[in-house]
């Protein structure tokens, strides 16, 4: 018996579209442990949605193997579907049904007796503060509210694994925070959460472990803390200049206490180890190079991504 959770082995996916081949996933390996919140962080087009698609039986892998709770997704899709809940980045509520009917029908698809399905729907409506809109149709809801219904629906049948594909994309900050709370609630109840996002704050504040994916490959996998430690920098100093200045970047790299320096347009991002005097030395070098602005921050997962790929997550 394989462990609960998700095991992804050498997963590759090639899409053939109009004669050209797109390698969406290039043989990734991942193991999501039962009960954890696992984040797959990467820019748009990195392969996150394809990964979720294969795990949730909606995308056929070109090669490799995925098991969810020990069940092979290809060999037995219905058994996998029974134990998972899915929230995709699209609004997939049934527009012909009210919110309450959406929840109840979902329960019936998963074998609830109709009477129990309606009870469950009302329970979820109350839990998700949706009771007032029970009779509304999906098109009448705001984005945040529709997303809440989708999450409520995804857990209506008590899945043991919940997949959330870019769950907060396009949500207002308040709805985003509310959804984070909900996800933490699921976690507290022992549900395994597999989350994809391109918001590093989301991965950082929610996830027990994070894998960073880019161009269909996993670059690193660890706890957010360990990932941030791995770049061995204490502080990120960003300098904004009048004009790009490669010579300055070279000089900054040579300074003691500087871990790395990278140009990004008219800005220079300098990672520094905790060492006295490094800031004055940087400022002294930048003096005369048209320094407009400077910010100092702690390293984030975004810093990790940039130091791995040389690009911003949003690029």
């Amino acid at each position: 018996m394989e462990p609960a959770g998700i095991v992804i082995e050498k997963l590759a996916k090639i899409y053939s579209r109009r004669g050209s081949e797109v390698h969406a996933l290039k043989g990734i390996d991942l193991e999501v442990r039962g009960g954890e919140i696992f984040g797959l962080l990467g820019p748009n087009g990195a392969g996150k949605t394809t990964t979720v698609g294969v795990c949730t039986t909606r995308v056929k892998a070109t090669s490799g193997r995925v098991t969810v709770n020990g069940i092979d997704v290809r060999a037995d899709a219905p058994a996998v579907k029974r134990s998972i809940g899915v929230v995709t980045q699209f609004r997939t509520l049934d527009r012909s049904l009210t919110i309450r009917e959406n929840l109840a029908m979902h329960g019936m698809y998963f074998g609830l007796h109709p009477k129990d399905a309606w009870v469950r729907a009302d329970e979820l409506l109350a839990d998700f503060r949706l009771s007032e809109r029970a009779g509304a149709f999906p098109d009448e809801l705001s984005g945040g509210m529709a997303q809440r219904v989708q999450v409520a629906r995804a857990i209506a049948h008590h899945p043991s694994v919940l997949f959330l594909d870019e769950p907060t994309a396009g949500l207002d900050p308040q709805s985003r925070l509310a959804l984070w709370e909900t996800i933490e609630g699921m976690h507290a109840r022992g549900i395994t959460v597999f989350l994809t996002t391109h918001y590093m704050e989301e991965a950082e504040s929610l996830c027990d472990r994070v894998a960073i994916i880019d161009h269909g490959q996993i670059l690193v996998l660890d706890t957010p803390e360990a990932l941030k430690r791995s770049i061995s920098a204490e502080t990120v100093i960003e300098l904004r200049l009048e004009t790009p200045n490669d010579a300055l970047v070279e000089r900054l790299r040579a300074l003691p206490g500087v871990v790395s320096a990278q140009a990004s347009g008219d800005a220079v991002r300098v990672l520094t180890a905790s060492q006295d005097g490094v800031l004055p030395r940087i400022l002294a070098e930048a003096n005369g190079a048209g320094l407009k602005d400077m910010t100092m921050t702690k390293p984030t997962l975004e810093t990790v991504f940039i130091s791995l790929t040389g690009r911003d997550l949003r690029e």
Partner: protein, 276 residues
Amino acid sequence: MSDGSMTLAPPARRAMYARAFYGLIRRDMRVARREAFQLSMRTIMNPFLFVFVFAYVFPKIGQQFQSGGGISFATIIVPGLIGSAIIFNGISAVALPLVMEFGATREIEDRVMAPLPTAAVAIEKIVFSAAQAVLAGLVVFPFVYLIPSTPVSVHVNNWPLLIGVFLLAGLVSSALGMAIGTVANPRQIGLVFALIVIPVTFLGCVYYPWARLHPVLWLQILVLINPLVYISEGLRTALTPTVPHMHPWAFFGALLALFALLMWMALSGFLRRVID
């Protein structure tokens, strides 16, 4: 042996599939109930007006169709109009929602994620819509029977034959609807109705028996690709046996073959659309 069969015993699995299938049926019933008025108007308007104009008004004002053989035009069109109501509703009930759900809204997703094989989601849609199409045929009957101002002669000698034709007609129609729904996109749906549904209903031997087409031989042969021809002829055999009609082997054989072909197109199209 797959990992899954170790975790789910066959009886439990069958029960899981059956409950999911039943849930999908309940969902479609709820939606159909909500849209009942719209659906019945869509079903009734065309046959009602057709019968009213051609079988009530025309004889009243002395503008008669030449039907020959002492059989009234009103009798000839009874099976045809029932058949076209079945095929029109079967196609519409599947193709219209499916085109939207695949193309624009992706709302089929939740049903596809129900715990049963994906093909069963498609089969449920076809079965439910076939029932809806059969119902549409039944709803049309009183209109085409009662409105004409000339005598309508309907005799059912063989009930099993009638029931068989009705059921097969419903299934062929909704399978055709799904085959259309999985290839068309929302922007093309008007075009698809113009190029497929309208020719199918006009050239489906609705207004004349197939045998009478003999003088236009090329048309008589060409229309044999049209499923409505066999539905009309089947209903003609069952309802108005005095009108010339095809042999039961011919229309049953053709309907079964078309059903197998359309079912294959519908299921493979559906799977292609929902699984990348």
